[in-house]
Structures are given as C-alpha cells and as structure tokens.
C-alpha cells in the first residue's frame, strides 16, 4: 500500500541554521500539508499546498518557513533560521483527488534545535 515517506527521521541542528525537511507524498495525490507537534502537545496545522501554490497557512508559518515542490515527487519544508521553539515533530500529509477529505500522514521528522 502506498505511503507518505519523510526524511530524515531525526534532524539535530543548531539554532540559527537552516533545515530542509523532505516528504514524498503518495504519487497520485494533489493536496499536500505540513503539520507540527511539539512534544506532548496537540498537532498544529502549518500550511497546505495545491496546484503548486500555498492554499492556506497558519500564523505559525511566518517568513522563516517556506514550502516547495521542486519536482514531481518531493515536497519540502524549509526553516531558514531555526529557533529553539521550532523543536517538534513535523508531519507531512497528502490527499488524493478522489477523496480530498482524507489526509494520509507520513511517519514524521523529529527536529531538535540546540
């Protein structure tokens, strides 16, 4: 069964560094999302992406964040200058065109900012 994949599974970075989190959505899906979950807290929406542009973003998704679909398969989240409070689990999700209400989540990337 097709799955959303994410790399790396764990990323450790120093404050102020740039990080790129990578996701490969399920191949025929058209809607893409990033969420984050700070340890022990609820899942928070960051951004949705459709037709090669951002369709919605949250207040968390400020100028430090950007998303890109550089080719036909990858979907990336870049954090330009990481802060300690960016430490969280970042989940990518995607939805198929036939069932846009169903979101399939990837396994997540744990980002630790030191």
């Amino acid at each position: 069964e097709p799955e959303v994949t994410q790399t790396p599974s764990h990323q450790v970075t120093q404050m102020g560094q740039e990080v790129i989190l990578r996701c490969v959505p399920i191949s025929n899906h058209l809607y893409f999302y990033w969420y984050r979950q700070i340890l022990g807290q609820k899942v928070e929406f960051l951004v949705s992406f459709y037709n090669n542009e951002i369709s919605e973003k949250s207040e968390i998704f400020d100028d430090q964040f950007s998303v890109e679909r550089p080719d036909g398969s990858n979907f990336t989240l870049k954090i330009r200058s990481t802060k300690l409070e960016d430490s969280a689990m970042y989940f990518c999700a995607s939805s198929p065109p036939a069932d846009p209400y169903e979101q399939y989540f990837g396994p997540g990337t744990r980002l630790t900012v030191t």
Partner: protein, 113 residues
C-alpha cells in the same frame, strides 16, 4: 478562531468495559476526523465524518457527529489493551483547496487488564 476541545484528557480503562471520548468544537463544521497516535508514531486515520448524524464503526470503535450540538463522540466498546493510544479529533472549516485540520488536545487512553 476555531477551538476544538476533547475530554477527558486522560482515560484509564478496564478491559471489557465501555467508554466515550467527547470532542466539542466552537464553529459550524460538518467535517470531523478522528485519529489514533501511538507513542512516537504518526497519525492513523480512524474515521472521517462528513455530515450531521454520520455514524461510523470499525471494530470496537464507533464515532458519531452532531453538527448542531458541535459535538462528536468516539465510543469504545469492550476495551482491550491494543486500544491503548492517544486519540485526536480534528475539525476542518476551510473553504480553500485542501483541508486545514484543527486538532483537539488529544485523549490519552490506557487500557489496563
């Protein structure tokens, strides 16, 4: 601003007994989701409820949606240890392409023998 509240936050269950998790939300919506998360793992979709009165069942879990009351319930029948996990509800009110899910705080379920 949409708020989604779950209760209880923690539920200690005895095997074989029935329990209910409640999800209240603050803004009209007819799209409600339930997810399960095991420790350190991703989110597994359990149910997608898309209309008032929707009821879905899978094994020992049953979810329902009352859009007028802005309430969804997740009912667990005859709890078993395998159901130990954190359960999240999420609501979507976006009109944009795609869906922006607003999650509740989660209910941590521990099923004891």
């Amino acid at each position: 601003e949409l708020k989604v509240e779950q209760n209880p936050l923690f539920l200690s269950m005895q095997e074989g007994k029935n329990y209910t998790i409640y999800c209240n939300y603050s803004t009209t919506s007819d799209r409600l989701y339930w997810y399960r998360q095991d420790p350190g793992k991703s989110l597994e979709s359990l149910f997608v409820l898309l209309s008032n009165g929707a009821v879905k069942q899978e094994g020992r879990l049953m979810a329902s949606l009352d859009t007028k009351a802005r309430l969804s319930t997740l009912h667990i029948t005859a709890a078993v240890h395998d159901l130990s996990a954190t359960y999240f509800c999420a609501v979507d009110i976006t009109e944009a392409a795609g869906n922006k899910l607003t999650f509740g705080g989660g209910t941590r379920v521990l099923v004891k023998p």
